[in-house]
Symmetry: C2
Subunit: 238 residues, 2 copies
Amino acid sequence: MQVEVISSVNEASQARFHHKTAIVVDVLRAGSTIVTALAAGAEAIVPVETVMEAKAAQMAGDLLGGERFCRKISGFDLGNSPDEYEASAVRARRIILTTTNGTRALQKSARADYVLTAALMNAAACARAALSLRRDVVILCAGYNDAFAAEDGFGAGLLLERMTQAGMNALELDDFALAMLGFYRSRSAYALETLASGATGKRLLKLGLQRDIEACAEIDIYKDVPILQGEKLVLLTR
Amino acid sequence: MQVEVISSVNEASQARFHHKTAIVVDVLRAGSTIVTALAAGAEAIVPVETVMEAKAAQMAGDLLGGERFCRKISGFDLGNSPDEYEASAVRARRIILTTTNGTRALQKSARADYVLTAALMNAAACARAALSLRRDVVILCAGYNDAFAAEDGFGAGLLLERMTQAGMNALELDDFALAMLGFYRSRSAYALETLASGATGKRLLKLGLQRDIEACAEIDIYKDVPILQGEKLVLLTR
């Protein structure tokens, strides 16, 4: 099984996803928020690019969530902090979510046979799911401001580590995957510090959102795997 | 001092080099060949993009060197193996060198205040030189086939490690630099294996060029730093 890692949305061409399983990694914070919401019982997440699209997509009972410049959007029900997406808020609700990079990453990967979303919170589960789907894998780091984000590279490396541990010794890693696996291994005991040391983390710290970084640094706390089904993300059930 | 790393020539825009010191890393093999030739007493290296340009630039006494698809070019004096560039062959000669990615990388970085070329062979010397030049630093991984190459990322990480060791504790690393430093640290005891595991290394092995990988995996054997001076690379003397 071949596994490649793409450093940011800018580097992703749709052709690279044909006949593959795509795993979109967006650790700070959309990937973490999405799995938290679905694990808490949300019916589905509908990712959209703009605030206007979010409002147009909203039907009765739907919640609006998302951020611009790391802040909750005026008039929206929820921001992009995983903590907000607890069961009492989201159970059985559809959530229209607009985030800066996550949505573009999902659109780029839409030609893949399967599109999963991953965070540190559900890395092992995503790795096992990718194994069971029996396609070559492309891990797409969502990034920050169109550039590589350290936390997503760390997440990609964690996914590769978990895929190896799940018995995929015959993984063929491309050069960037080799680098991300090494990056993860050198920092595996320092997830929180690594997330805090990148540009996204520094920005969240400045905005007083340290608690979000702590939440997103938790590894393998969920067994849930979001998968794109048409226009929406739902839990993969197997 | 800010230090950023660019993953491949494709990702490099000339604007990112303004007022900076650029370090072009091309471990397999141009960066290794260039420092080997200059350390062996070559007068200068003139990097050019095409075979035709190389022939047009050749003056009496000049040697032609370079590769296409990892092979020596027909009619050229030298290929791109560091071992070929020994003193008896190159002393006091100007060498016109054409390589696939190295030349484009040098052109991209030409707007920097200083342009150095690095390999594992001269990493500590390049790190000290960058420190003494007192500019923010952009490390450009030359890459392979327009994509990130593991050996260049490993080389970038080694440069960052040496810059840190040279007393630059106040380095501000961008996200990609953080990742490459981690990658290097996780693999620092396995330079040869790391070079052999990337796409370039695998290709060289297939062509029977294992000896080149071994030569290029030697760390800090030269104190020499090539610097771009107009159209040619010469040794930095300070």
